[in-house]
C-alpha cells in the first residue's frame, strides 16, 4: 500500500518533471521560432531582391546604405523592446534621441562661435557624454512619472513625447540646426573591414542589452515585471526600482541613437524621425516582442530591423516608391501577427 502510494507519488512527480521539461522545451522553441522566423524572412527577402536586381541590390553602395540606415532604427527598436518587455511602451524615445542630438549640436555651435572651431572639435567626447546625460535625464523623468507617480507608461510617454518635442521646438525655433563635432562625422564615415563604425555601435548595444536581459538580475526583474507584475511584486521585487531603471536605460539608448543621428548627418531638428516612433513599434513586435510584456529577444529585434531595411532598400532597387514600402510594412506586420495567432491559437498571448 505504502509502496504503491510512493510509487504513484513518484510517478506523479516524474510526470510533473517531464511536463516541466516539456513546457520549458516548448517555450524555447517558441522564442527560437520567432527568431528563426525573422532569420528566414531576412534570408528570403535578401534572396528575392538579389535574384530580381542582382547588380543594384548586391552593389556595395546598397549594402552600405543598409548598414548605415539600420543602426539608429535598430537602437530605438531595442529601446522600445525593453519597455515592452517590462509591460510598457515608450512613445517618447524618438524625441529623447532628438533632444540628445539637439543638445550636442547647439552646445558645439555655441562653443565654436565663442572659443573657436578647434576647441569645439576637441570637446567631441564630453559633448557626446552631455548628449547621453540628456537622454538619461529624460528617461529618468519617464521613469519617475511611471514608477513613482504611477501614470500608465503609454500616457506618461505620450505626455513627455509632446513635452520634450515641444521644448525642442522652442529651443530650435522649429529650424534645422547644422553643426556637429568633426569627430562624430568621422565616426559616421569610418569603416572597419567594410563594416561602418555606427553599425558596430548597434552590435555593441545589442550585445549589452542581451547580456543585461539574459545574465543580470535587473534583466530578469524587467522580464518578470512584464510577465506578471503582481506576482513579481509578491516575490519581493520592487516594481518602482525596476521601472525606474528600465526607463532610465531606455533614455540612455535614446541618447545613443541621438549621437548616431548626428554622426550620419551633422544636423539636428525637433522633427527628425517623425515616423520612427510607429516604425520602431512595428519592428519590436515583428521581432517577436510580446506587446503585453514578458517576452522578447534582442536578436529577434535586430533581425527584424535588418529585414525591414533590406525590404526598404530592395524596394528602392526595384524603383518602387516609399509608399509601396509602407504598404509592404503593414502587410508584413499584420501577416506576422495573424500567422502567430493561427499557429499558437489559445496557447499564449
Amino acid at each position: 500500500m505504502m509502496n504503491r502510494i510512493a510509487e504513484a507519488d513518484g510517478m506523479r512527480r516524474g510526470g510533473a518533471e517531464r511536463r516541466d521539461v516539456l513546457t520549458d522545451f516548448v517555450r524555447k522553441i517558441h522564442v527560437n521560432r520567432s527568431v528563426g522566423q525573422m532569420a528566414a524572412l531576412l534570408v528570403a527577402a535578401f534572396a528575392i531582391f538579389t535574384i530580381l536586381r542582382p547588380a543594384v541590390f548586391l552593389g556595395s553602395y546598397n549594402l552600405q546604405v543598409i548598414a548605415l540606415a539600420a543602426p539608429e532604427i535598430g537602437i530605438l527598436a531595442i529601446a522600445m523592446m525593453v519597455t515592452m518587455l517590462s509591460g510598457g511602451i515608450d512613445l517618447s524615445v524618438v524625441s529623447i534621441a532628438n533632444a540628445s542630438a539637439i543638445t550636442i549640436s547647439m552646445t558645439y555651435t555655441a562653443v565654436s562661435s565663442r572659443a573657436g572651431v578647434e576647441l569645439a572639435n576637441s570637446l567631441a567626447l564630453p559633448l557626446v557624454l552631455l548628449g547621453l546625460v540628456v537622454g538619461v535625464a529624460a528617461g529618468a523623468i519617464n521613469g519617475l512619472l511611471i514608477a513613482k507617480v504611477g501614470i500608465t507608461p503609454i500616457l506618461a510617454t505620450l505626455g513627455t513625447m509632446q513635452l520634450f518635442n515641444g521644448l525642442e521646438l522652442v529651443v530650435t525655433g522649429g529650424r534645422t540646426l547644422y553643426g556637429a563635432p568633426a569627430g562624430l562625422s568621422t565616426l559616421g564615415t569610418t569603416t572597419f573591414l567594410g563594416v561602418p563604425a555606427i553599425f558596430l555601435i548597434l552590435v555593441v548595444v545589442a550585445v549589452a542589452i542581451g547580456v543585461l536581459l539574459d545574465r543580470i538580475s535587473l534583466g530578469f526583474r524587467i522580464r518578470y515585471q512584464g510577465a506578471n507584475a503582481e506576482a513579481s511584486r509578491f516575490s519581493g521585487i520592487s516594481s518602482t526600482r525596476t521601472l525606474l531603471a528600465t526607463y532610465t536605460i531606455v533614455g540612455l539608448l535614446g541618447g545613443i541613437a541621438g549621437v548616431v543621428f548626428l554622426s550620419r548627418n551633422p544636423s539636428a531638428s525637433a522633427d527628425y524621425g517623425a515616423s520612427y516612433t510607429l516604425l520602431v513599434i512595428v519592428i519590436a513586435v515583428l521581432g517577436g516582442t510580446n506587446p503585453y510584456g514578458g517576452r522578447a529577444t534582442v536578436l529577434g529585434v535586430v533581425l527584424a530591423t535588418l529585414c525591414l531595411q533590406v525590404v526598404a532598400s530592395g524596394f528602392t532597387a526595384m524603383r518602387l516608391s516609399s509608399q509601396q514600402y509602407a504598404m509592404a510594412q503593414g502587410v508584413i506586420l499584420i501577416g506576422a501577427m495573424v500567422l502567430d495567432y493561427l499557429r499558437g491559437r489559445g496557447s499564449s498571448r
Binding site: 507617480v149 505626455g159 525655433g173 510607429l278 513599434i281 509601396q324 503593414g330 499584420i334 501577427m337
Partner: protein, 353 residues
C-alpha cells in the same frame, strides 16, 4: 449642450461635481484659461475668438469622437488619419477624374462608404484574430496610406468639386462687430448633431452600453451575452465613417485635397481625448469630457498666440497639461487601489458617461 450636462443640472450641479470623469475640473480649467487670457489680452474675449476656436476645433472634435469610441471599448486606433485621407481624397479624386460632381451629400456618402470599408478591415482583424488594436491599426495605417498613393493617386487637387468648394465659405451665423464681420462655419451644425447622437448612443443604446462593457472587461461582457465580436466590428466601421467625415471637413476647410494631409495627428488627438477623462484601458470616458478636452487644447493654442507666446510653446504646454492631468489622476488613485482594489474597481466599471 449634451445630455450628461443636462442630467447633472437636474440632479443638482454641486452634488455631482466634478462629474464621473472629472468633467467639472476640466470645465473649471477651461474657464480659468479663458479668464486669465481675457485679463492678459482684452482682445481675446470676443465672439471672433470664440468662432475661430470652434472653427479650429471642428476637425479635431470629429476625430476625437472616433477615438473616444475606440478608447471606451478598450482599444487604441492610430489609423483614423489614414482612413480620413484615403476616404476623402479618393471620393474627390474618383469623381473629379470622371468630370462629375456627386453633389454635397453624394461626396460625403461616397467618402463615408469608403471609410466604413476601411473600418471594416480594422474591425475584422481586431475582432476575428484578437490582435492588439494598436498593432493592427499601425499596420493598416501604413497600408491604407500606401495603397491610396499607389492605386488612387498622389497628386494635389487644388480645385475641389463645386458642391464642396462652395461650402468652405458658407456660414450659419454671421455677426457684425466693430472689428468686422465674424462667421460661424456651417459645418459646425452636422458636427454638433453627430456629437449629440454619439452621446445618446453611448448612453442609451445597447450598442453603447456594450462598448463600455467590452472596454471594462471583454470576458465579463461575453459572459453576460454581449456579442463582443459583432460589437467591435460595428464600432470600427462607425469609427471609419467618422474618420471619413472628419477628412471631408478638413478638406473643405483647407479648400484642397492633399494626399499628404493629416500626417502625425493621431497621438495629439488621443492626448486630447485622454485629457478629457477617457481611460486608455477602456470602459471610461464621456462625450462631454472629450469635447472639453478638445476645446481646452484649442483655446490654449489660440490664446498663446494672442498673448504673444511663440507658437512653438503650444506643444510643450499641451504635453505638460496632459502630464499634470493624468498625473493627478494616477496620484489620487494610487493609495486606495493598494488598500482595497475591489472598492476602486467597482465604480470604474460603472463610471460611464
Amino acid at each position: 449642450m449634451s445630455t450628461p450636462a443636462l442630467r447633472q443640472r437636474r440632479s443638482g450641479l454641486l452634488s455631482r461635481w466634478p462629474g464621473r470623469n472629472n468633467e467639472g475640473y476640466l470645465a473649471a480649467l477651461l474657464l480659468l484659461v479663458v479668464a486669465v487670457m481675457s485679463a492678459a489680452a482684452p482682445a481675446f474675449f470676443s465672439l471672433h475668438t470664440f468662432f475661430s476656436v470652434i472653427r479650429g476645433a471642428t476637425v479635431p472634435w470629429i476625430f476625437a469622437m472616433g477615438v473616444l469610441l475606440v478608447l471606451v471599448s478598450g482599444g487604441i486606433d492610430v489609423s483614423f488619419p489614414a482612413i480620413a485621407v484615403f476616404s476623402a481624397y479618393s471620393a474627390v479624386a474618383l469623381t473629379t477624374a470622371r468630370g462629375v460632381d456627386a453633389g454635397l451629400l453624394g461626396n460625403f456618402a461616397l467618402a463615408m462608404a469608403i471609410g466604413c470599408l476601411l473600418g471594416l478591415v480594422n474591425g475584422i482583424l481586431i475582432a476575428r484574430f484578437r490582435l492588439p488594436t494598436l498593432i493592427v491599426t499601425l499596420g493598416t495605417a501604413g497600408f491604407f496610406r500606401g495603397a491610396m498613393i499607389t492605386f488612387v493617386g498622389a497628386t494635389y487637387i487644388a480645385q475641389l468639386p463645386r458642391s464642396l468648394a462652395e461650402q468652405s465659405t458658407r456660414s450659419v451665423i454671421s455677426v457684425n462687430t466693430e472689428a468686422g464681420t465674424t462667421f460661424l462655419h456651417v459645418l459646425v451644425v452636422p458636427v454638433l448633431i453627430l456629437t449629440v447622437l454619439i452621446a445618446l448612443g453611448l448612453k442609451h443604446t445597447m450598442f453603447g452600453r456594450a462598448a463600455y462593457a467590452i472596454g471594462g472587461d471583454p470576458e465579463a461582457a461575453r459572459r453576460v451575452g454581449i456579442p463582443v465580436q459583432r460589437t467591435q466590428v460595428v464600432l470600427y466601421v462607425l469609427v471609419g465613417a467618422l474618420a471619413a467625415f472628419g477628412g471631408m471637413v478638413f478638406m473643405i476647410q483647407g479648400q484642397a485635397a492633399d494626399p499628404q494631409m493629416l500626417i502625425g495627428i493621431e497621438l495629439d488627438t488621443i492626448a486630447a481625448v485622454v485629457l478629457g477623462g477617457a481611460s486608455i484601458f477602456g470602459g471610461r470616458g464621456s462625450v462631454l469630457g472629450t469635447v472639453l478636452g478638445v476645446l481646452l487644447v484649442q483655446v490654449i493654442n489660440n490664446s498663446l498666440v494672442l498673448v504673444g507666446v511663440p507658437t512653438a510653446w503650444q506643444r510643450a504646454t499641451v504635453g505638460l497639461l496632459l502630464l499634470l492631468g493624468v498625473g493627478a489622476q494616477a496620484w489620487a488613485g494610487r493609495r486606495p487601489r493598494r488598500a482595497a482594489p475591489a472598492a476602486v474597481k467597482a465604480p470604474a466599471v460603472k463610471a460611464a458617461a
